[in-house]
């Protein structure tokens, strides 16, 4: 163990009905690193992220972030601590413009969870607007800022999602399959962006199916199968791990 | 800007002083006050009356009948048609050439049986249409609300159907006049008949509509019946517009009461009566007596809705078309000839009110409200149905005979729903105006 542990998931269990979605999951995320969680469909990856952001309450176990216990906190409180999440299916504000979509999270990180400010004008918020424009053009959405976000292509919506996460400058960014449904070119562009952020030292947890993405970004990989972590290590270690191969291939055979 | 009306008070002071002197000949008075009172018709050839009746909601049919009566009254005042009660009313100053030589025109509005809507409608008539008198309505809440508005605006209000004691009691106003009878008079008229029919030893159970009118009626009837020696088992308040009253009727069954008094009007009355009869209350025996139902305020229009259920049920009414006096006959005849069916009590009251106002103006020789009020106060007349009638000066309540009626067991026609049991003479229903308190205010 070298770095500072930012996120600590310990002994987390979760069952849905009779289905064991997570069983005794322990995970430590180091500061500044990109940690990938991989595993076959239904392994519990998304459930794990949901536990982290407060969407799902675990039956047992705790999640701590920089020493604060997250379990039992409201999603907005968790976000205010510096944990942002990028959703797998785009969760944007479809009726608002692309720019508005990005400005909203920026307000959240500036003003906190609630600010009563009906007497300032949006048009006066130049700082936030410039920041949003910068993030958008970084992600190649600069030409779409005034479009209604709901009418964008799926790939663009995913990038908008990413922009909404990035503008908050979170301490920890949780990415749920950030490139799913993107073209190869878009995927590569996203990878580049994420590498650039990595250089800035933001901690990231990525759930991903695309091994190309995983191996280009991850410093560390955890493998989840049937709700339990079956392997953990550097990318190279995971690549050669027979248990991982079995989990993937075995899963495929069934 | 002739629309600016509410600031008249200061301006009118001098006018009032002149009015108090009250000696000037009428043509002089008219000219002297040409600009002085709200909606003064001045030298115009016509005068506008405002007919404010419910056109939507539960009382829409009653409102429609009121409007028919008003239209008929306008015709007669203007000298069209057969003249109706103009031929029978005495004393009468109207000549059948309009009022003071001016043709009567009218505007209409919808009260919706809501005080807000009624006031809005009345204000429109006053501010926009230049109405010099407002009349109509089908509930006491509306009557009281519009009456006080008219008082403020300096416009005479001739109330339509309103039965609460408050209208000419604690909420009476100098500018408001009521021809219709009230709950107290209902009680006073009903008492002796109840005693004669049902004896002195009875237990009454009241179901009362839970608002001002219901309460005053409950109180009046209770006072009467308790004076007879009846006991009051319970007086239960029911929500207005409850629809289904069964949950209030079931407790009556084993309460030991042998009389059910329904202080309901309109749809509430139809529903509660229909349901009470369904519960077998009319055929029940309690304490060795026949159980009876009493509906203190009856209306023929509403009784239609209760169908067979009203047969044999006692109540009171202001007027019924089957009356045989000359005034009633004349009115029924011209109303029937015009519309093909007999008028309701609401129609009669409204028709009479319009005529009384017009006549008062003619008598006073001016439209100036204070003079018209003077002419109406204490005005004694006959030939408008219900025998000799007086507009009492002290509270602006009309005193006349009250009809005790019962649901007709064997109607001879589709309109023959109510049968007059007794015409209770005026002397029996009169009371001291002081008992209800209130203050008329002054005419300024």
């Amino acid at each position: 163990m070298t770095g500072n542990i930012v996120l600590n998931i310990s002994y987390v269990d979760k069952t849905f009905g009779g289905l064991q979605a997570l069983s005794n999951v322990n995970l430590e995320i180091e500061e500044g690193k990109t940690h990938a969680i991989i595993g076959p469909n239904g392994a519990g990856k998304s459930t794990l992220l949901n536990v982290c952001v407060g969407r799902i309450k675990p039956d047992r176990g705790t999640v701590t972030f920089n020493g604060e216990i997250l379990t039992g906190k409201e999603p907005f409180e968790i976000n205010q601590l510096g944990v942002a999440r990028v959703f797998q299916t785009p969760e944007i504000f479809p009726q608002l413009s692309v720019l508005d979509n990005v400005m909203i999270p920026a307000f959240a990180s500036r003003d906190g969870s609630f600010e009563f400010n009906p007497f300032t004008l949006l048009s006066d918020e130049t700082k936030i607007r410039d920041e949003a424009l910068r993030v958008l053009s970084d992600l190649g959405l600069g030409d779409q800022v005034n479009n209604v976000s709901g009418s964008m292509s799926r790939g663009d919506k995913r990038r908008l999602e990413l922009a909404m996460g990035l503008i908050q400058r979170p301490k920890l960014l949780l990415l749920d399959e950030p490139t799913a449904g993107m073209s190869r070119a878009d995927t590569n562009r996203t990878i580049e962006t994420l590498i650039r952020i990595k250089e800035r030292g933001m901690t990231k947890v990525i759930i991903e199916h695309d091994m190309h993405v995983v191996f280009s970004l991850a410093d560390k990989i955890s493998v989840l199968a049937q709700g339990a972590i079956i392997a953990e290590g550097a990318p190279d270690e995971i690549r050669g791990n027979p248990k991982v191969q079995e989990a993937y291939l075995g899963g495929a055979q069934i | 800007m002739s629309d600016l009306k509410f600031t008249r008070r200061g301006v009118l002071k001098s006018g009032a002083a002149l009015g108090a002197a009250g000696v000037a000949p009428s043509f002089f008075v008219r000219n002297a006050w040409a600009q002085d009172f709200t909606n003064n018709p001045g030298n115009g050839s016509s005068v506008v009356l405002g007919f404010n009746v419910p056109q939507t909601g539960a009382y829409a049919d009653e409102g429609a009948d009121e409007l028919r009566a008003y239209q008929l009254a306008v015709k007669h005042i203007n000298g069209e048609g057969d003249g109706g009660m103009l031929n029978t009313m005495t004393p009468l100053s109207l000549k059948g050439n309009g009022v003071l030589g001016k043709k009567v025109e009218y505007v209409t509005g919808d009260t919706q049986t809501k005080s807000d809507a009624a006031r809005a409608s009345a204000k429109r008539m006053i501010e926009k249409d230049g109405a010099i008198m407002i009349t109509g309505g089908s509930s006491s809440g509306v009557a009281v609300a519009v009456q006080s508005l008219c008082h403020e605006a300096g416009i005479i209000f001739m109330a339509g159907l309103t039965h609460s004691n408050d209208t000419t009691g604690k909420d009476k106003r100098k500018y408001g006049f009521r021809h219709f009878f009230n709950a107290y008079m209902s009680g006073a008229a009903l008492g002796p008949v109840l005693e004669a029919r049902y004896g002195k030893d009875r237990n009454a159970y009241h179901l009362t509509a839970d608002y001002t009118w219901g309460w005053t009626q409950e109180e009046s009837i209770k006072n009467t019946t308790e004076a007879l020696g009846w006991k009051t088992t319970a007086a239960v308040r029911t929500p207005l517009g409850a629809g289904d009253f069964s949950q209030y009727i079931t407790p009556v069954l084993n309460s030991g009461a042998d009389v059910l008094i329904l202080n309901h009007y309109g749809k509430d009355m139809i529903n509660s009566l229909t349901q009470a009869v369904q519960f077998g209350l009319r055929d029940k025996q309690v304490n060795g007596k026949n159980f009876v139902i009493v509906v203190p305020l009856f209306s023929r229009l509403m009784a239609q809705g209760a169908g067979e259920n009203i047969k044999g049920i006692l109540g009171t009414t202001n007027w019924n078309w089957s009356l045989t006096d000359a005034g009633s006959q004349a009115f029924v005849k011209s109303f029937g000839a015009e519309y093909g069916f007999p008028p309701s009590q609401a129609a009669h009251t409204c028709y009479t009110q319009a005529l009384l106002y017009a006549n008062a103006c003619e008598t006073a020789g001016t439209f100036y409200p204070c003079e018209v009020i003077n002419a109406l106060e204490g005005f004694k007349f006959d030939g408008a149905g219900n025998g000799p009638t007086e507009y009492r000066a002290a509270d602006h309540q009309c005193f006349k005979d009250v009809l005790v009626v019962e649901g007709n067991e064997n109607p001879s026609s589709q309109f023959d729903l109510l049968q007059v049991v007794q015409v209770v003479p005026r002397a029996q229903v009169e009371y001291d105006p002081a008992i209800f308190g209130g203050e008329l205010g002054t005419c300024s």
Binding site: - | A58, Y59, G243, G280, L301, G305, G340
Partner: protein, 338 residues
């Protein structure tokens, strides 16, 4: 004891009526996702089916009252009585139950026409627009009825034989004062029957299965290649018939007038929502629950403790239930929550 028994019975009776009125509303809510403010108008139209049928059956020969000359006063003798004598009298006496025969096809047609002609264009529109259009439609329907029948309630009595009250007390060994009107007992049984029929239809027919699946997950059913649209039309028709039947059978209890639908509208919404959106069982249980509570709240003993409780009990219960159970009694997640 007698009093309690009577109030329970009364509560059931009220509850049956509430449940029946709410049933059609929740069906339309749950399957079509439409906020139907015209549901009360359907209830009212049903009642006026009975009125119309009564008018037809009692079409009368008018025997003029010669003593009155200035208006058309007459005594009516129905043609049915003239032609068929006693049989005619019986037919007229039974007019309310008989009008069910007419009400079913008429209400079905009205329902189908409403859905095809108007409602179907609003499935994808916002709830706000659904409210405006159905409210507008309700007003139009009301005004049409008013122009034909006037604003006054019209008496529509139950058949003579069931007009009185049954001595229930004797049946259960209670006092003599425990009587209850036959017609209300019939209404209770009838609502039970209709509710049961609707449930059975949804439970045991393939059509019902698809509708239930549609209530659970509309897109899913659409994806299966089933023509959901046509089924929705039929569901709306059924809802109209149920509302109409509730109206027909209610006429002897509440002489119908054009505005009766509006008066029941708020109540039926409260029942449906307290029951939980998208749940038929919830609507029915909420109907009975509210009926019984209302009946008890109206007892003098209760009112003596809390004055005015009978006025607000329904709303108070609605608030308490919605605060303790987020989706009413049996509501499903995600239905009408956004």
């Amino acid at each position: 004891m007698d009093a309690i028994f009577l109030q329970v019975l009364n509560g059931l009776d009220k509850g049956g009526a509430y449940a029946l009125i709410a049933l059609g509303l929740t069906l339309v809510f749950g399957t079509l996702g439409v906020v139907n403010f015209a549901h009360g108008a359907l209830f009212m139209l049903g009642a006026f089916c009975a009125v119309t049928f009564q008018f037809m059956m009692t079409a009368s020969k008018q025997i003029k009252d010669e003593s009155i000359t200035f208006f058309d006063a007459y005594k009516e003798v129905p043609y049915l009585e003239i032609w068929f004598g006693h049989v005619g009298t019986v037919l007229i006496d039974w007019v309310v139950p008989l009008s069910i025969i007419m009400a079913i096809p008429v209400m079905l047609l009205i329902g189908l026409a409403m859905e095809r002609g108007l409602i179907r264009y609003f499935y994808k529109r916002s709830h706000a627009e659904q409210i405006l259009v159905t409210f507008g439609l309700a007003i139009v329907l009301q005004e049409i009825i008013k122009s034909f029948f006037g604003a006054n309630p019209i008496p529509t009595p139950a058949p003579e034989i069931v007009a009185g009250s049954a001595n229930i007390g004797a049946l259960f060994g209670l006092g003599d004062s425990v009587v209850y009107p036959y017609w209300r007992l019939i209404y209770l049984a009838f609502s039970g029957l209709v509710i049961f029929a609707v449930f059975a239809f949804l439970q045991f027919t393939t059509f019902g299965m698809v509708v239930r699946a549609g209530m659970a997950d509309r897109e899913m059913v659409g994806l299966l290649g089933i023509n959901v649209e046509r089924r929705f039309t039929i569901v709306f028709g059924i809802a109209a018939v149920v509302a109409g039947l509730a109206g027909v059978m209610y006429t002897p209890i509440l002489p119908p007038d054009y505005n009766m639908g509006m008066e029941f509208l708020v109540l039926s919404f409260v029942v449906v929502v307290v029951g939980g959106m998208g749940s038929l069982g919830g609507a029915v249980s909420a109907g009975f629950l509210l009926g019984i509570l209302q009946s008890f709240a109206s007892m003098n003993e209760v009112k003596a403790i809390i004055p005015g409780i009978d006025q607000i009990i329904i709303y108070l219960v609605a608030v308490i239930i919605l605060l303790t159970r987020p989706r009413g009694l049996m509501g499903r997640k995600g239905v009408m929550e956004d």
